[in-house]
């Protein structure tokens, strides 16, 4: 019933001395029917944990690329219920860990407990709500944990020591470290703030640490992988979808190629 895919995933990485590769995709972009095959393509290209984004009308933490992806998904009729259906389809073919990634309001509207129950039943392993601070997280984490789901929280370079400890306390599965203060989107250079953040968090938790925000080249993947247990890439995948739509090309092929190119930056063996 409760396979704890996220924990066993990080255990496996540890055993094999590998760094994880986490990929974000907005479910329903460009249409709900396509998402399972796009996720399969990302997995073929080397992504080993999927952040499945539920599109929201007002994505304040996202830059233009993911904003446009969410807008495409919403105009294609994507709903929370449809995203759960997408998750079930992915789960029919794959054991890749799935993290539901969204903003609070669609989840609140669906109902915290109903969402946790249905997410678990559809093969989702955990959630990350970008606009839920730990202070406001009580009812959400209770519902999720009640149904055996992990709750991942963000820590940022701006987080105070007190907040880092709270983030560690509320998180399960792993912790997502935001490498820079800003919205999602590709960046030319990596932030120098992330290394102190990783060290500060390591002092507080034994949970795995993923690092993301702005990573879009194999070199950036390599650099980040040396610090983190997993590297997160989001906008670069959304960009691949968008570019292939513009060019009339196959988004699945584009995603697989993008994943493969970025995965080349991962060290084959660590430590």
């Amino acid at each position: 019933m409760n396979p704890k895919r996220i924990a066993s995933y990080f255990d496996r990485l540890q055993r094999e001395g590998r760094t994880g590769f986490i990929g974000y995709i907005t479910a329903g972009d460009p249409s709900p029917d396509l998402t399972p095959s796009l996720v399969a393509a990302m997995v073929r290209g080397g992504v080993d944990l999927i952040e499945l984004g539920v599109p929201f009308s007002d994505p304040i933490a996202d830059g233009p690329v993911i904003q446009r992806g969410a807008a495409r998904a919403l105009s294609a009729g994507t709903t929370v219920a449809k995203v759960l259906g997408i998750a079930a389809k992915i789960r029919e073919q794959s054991e890749v860990p799935l993290l539901l990634f969204t903003y609070l309001n669609p989840v609140l509207r669906y109902g915290l407990d109903a969402l946790a129950r249905d997410a678990a039943a559809h093969g989702i392993d955990g959630g990350l709500l970008t606009d839920v601070s730990v202070e406001e997280a009580g009812p959400y984490t209770a519902a999720m944990h009640n149904h055996g789901l992990d709750t991942v929280f963000l820590a940022a370079p701006t987080s105070t020591p007190r907040r880092l400890s709270l983030t560690a306390q509320y998180s399960s599965g792993f912790i997502y470290l935001v490498s820079r203060a800003g919205v999602t989107g590709e960046r030319r250079t990596l932030s120098s703030n992330v290394e102190p953040l990783v060290h500060a968090m390591r002092e507080r938790t034994s949970l795995p640490l993923a690092v993301g925000f702005g990573i879009s080249t194999p070199d950036q993947v390599r650099e980040t992988a040396s610090l983190a247990d997993a590297v997160v890439v989001g906008s670069a995948f959304e960009r691949a979808i968008e570019d292939s739509l513009t060019a009339g090309a196959d988004p699945a092929a584009a995603l697989e190629a993008r994943a493969r190119a970025l995965a080349a930056g991962l060290p084959s063996k660590k430590r």
Partner: protein, 403 residues
Amino acid sequence: MLTSQPDSLGHFGPYGGRFVPEVLMAPLEEIEQAYNEARTDPAFQSELHSLLADYAGRPTPLYHARRLSESLGGARIYLKREDLLHTGAHKINNCLGQALLARRMGKRRIIAETGAGQHGVATATVCALFGFDCVVYMGEEDMRRQRLNVFRMRLLGAKVVAVSTGSRTLKDAISEAMRDWVTNISTTHYLLGSALGAHPYPLMVRDFHRVIGEEARRQILEKEDRLPGSIFACVGGGSNAIGIFHPFIADEQVQLIGVEAGGRGPAEGEHAARFSGGSPGVLHGAYSYLLQNSDGQVLLTHSVSAGLDYALVGPEHAWLNDQHRAEYVPIGDDEALQAALTLARTEGIIPALESAHAVAEALRRAPSAKDQIFVVNLSGRGDKDTDIYRERLPEIDEPETHR
């Protein structure tokens, strides 16, 4: 006795709170701390007081609108003249307060959102006064309908950034301002313009506008020796309304009436009446009544008045509504326009379209409220709306002598 103060995390009952990405939590804590120090610092308060008096023009008059009252044959109607403030609306109260706070925190770059442009103009004004850099985000649709204010901001040295996402109105301007803020937090203060957003904004913005109600209370007692029966204010995010309501909350005999934008009618997307058409949800950092669809996506809104055209209401209003301490009603576009015309013709005062919504509700209730006192918060003046008045009241614009 009901008072209205949030808990330490900014909750008014279940509403309010802090629903923002982690990156913004530390900056919010920094503002909260700075504000808590400032509010009890006599030097801060006295500087704010001087600016409000000598620069903004406080106290504003509480004016007995005799001809209007007589024409309706009922309540004695008083107007709280926030429209006479420097920059033409109540918004300057909050801008002066937050500018002083920004200086105290060592931030020299200010960003803001604006709908009608009044908050943008007030922000650009205080930035000129304090020598701050100023960037104002404004929806393209609002830039079109409030052109005059766009130019006023530029004249004052602000950069106005057009927002072309979503409905291209206030909601999208706030999203874009928040994105700027997360990217530039070390240098930048977000001067939010209504009693919205994450804690401490709803509390802080309310406190900076409380002066409206404090003055009105003193003035009505001087003039009438009793409290008003009803107070009317329009509610966009809810800053002018909470400012005038708050000092009267414990006076249970005083009815507090908030007026939302009824737009073109009750159909989805045609109005911004959160209390009649919405349900609790989270947008831009706060939990409150929200216009949303069954899947939790935020609905588009409509109002002839850009300042009321927003999907979420300030959280303290949500709480006052649930406590039955304040009542919230919608007034449609046409009725607001007619109320503006009535006020112009009986009193020689052209109100902002936002304020005209509050006037309209008072006009509805006055005839059957004999011997009662009404206070209407006239939150802004109508100059910015001249184009819309011309467009929507074409019969006035046609020369009558033309045959």
